[in-house]
């Protein structure tokens, strides 16, 4: 776990976390439920990328499984909320 040859990944992680902040604004402010779901989906993709970068930094393979799970459940959540929205069961 050396800090010398993973500088690029540290910068990448920081910038990705920084990019997720405006999505929090959209999540808070978004006029409709669709905007909020879209913001959550984008945050999920950024989270997957951050987990992958962390697995490279820490040299741990378990973070890859966590990234797979996060991507899977983010996708499933989007599909379920879209289905409820389509039937008009939620506002």
């Amino acid at each position: 776990m050396g800090a010398t040859h993973h500088d690029l990944e540290y910068v990448l992680t920081f910038l990705l976390a920084l990019l997720a902040m405006p999505m929090l604004y959209r999540l808070w402010r978004g006029p409709s439920t669709g905007d909020r779901v879209l913001a959550l989906e984008t945050i999920g993709v950024f989270g997957v990328l951050v987990l992958l970068a962390l697995s490279v930094i820490a040299e741990r393979t378990i973070y890859l499984d966590l990234a797979v799970l996060l991507a899977l459940f983010s996708f499933l959540g989007t599909l379920v909320i879209a289905r409820y929205l389509e039937r008009g069961l939620i506002q």
Partner: protein, 111 residues
């Protein structure tokens, strides 16, 4: 190799930044979907390719394969989610932006 990885990260971050700017600036949900889904897909694919190259460089080929598997998963999943969300939002009746010039889905529903 390091230069290539740096270029992949930089291009991916650029596309993700474009997605975020579009999410904040675009006028309605459909424009936001347009900017978010495409840019996020390409940007995350570039970053994941860079990370897979890094794993491969470190001599961990199985991890690199797993990272590439995640890349394939993201490539399939993000457009499907955006498509389902756009369809659900249109059926639910979230209004289009007043500057919209063409609405082919609505015209097709009327026929």
């Amino acid at each position: 190799m390091d230069i290539l990885i740096l270029l992949l990260y930089a291009a991916g971050l650029f596309f993700n930044l474009a997605a975020v700017v579009g999410m904040i600036r675009m006028p309605d949900l459909y424009c936001r979907l347009h900017s978010s889904s495409k840019n996020t897909t390409l940007g995350s694919l570039l970053i994941v390719f860079g990370l897979a190259l890094r794993e491969f460089q470190a001599g961990e080929a199985p991890s690199a394969l797993k990272v590439l598997l995640i890349a394939a998963f993201l490539l399939v999943v993000t457009p499907i989610g955006s498509h389902a969300l756009a369809r659900a939002a249109y059926r639910y009746g979230i209004p289009l932006w007043e500057g919209t010039v063409v609405d082919q889905y609505g015209e097709m529903q009327e026929q």
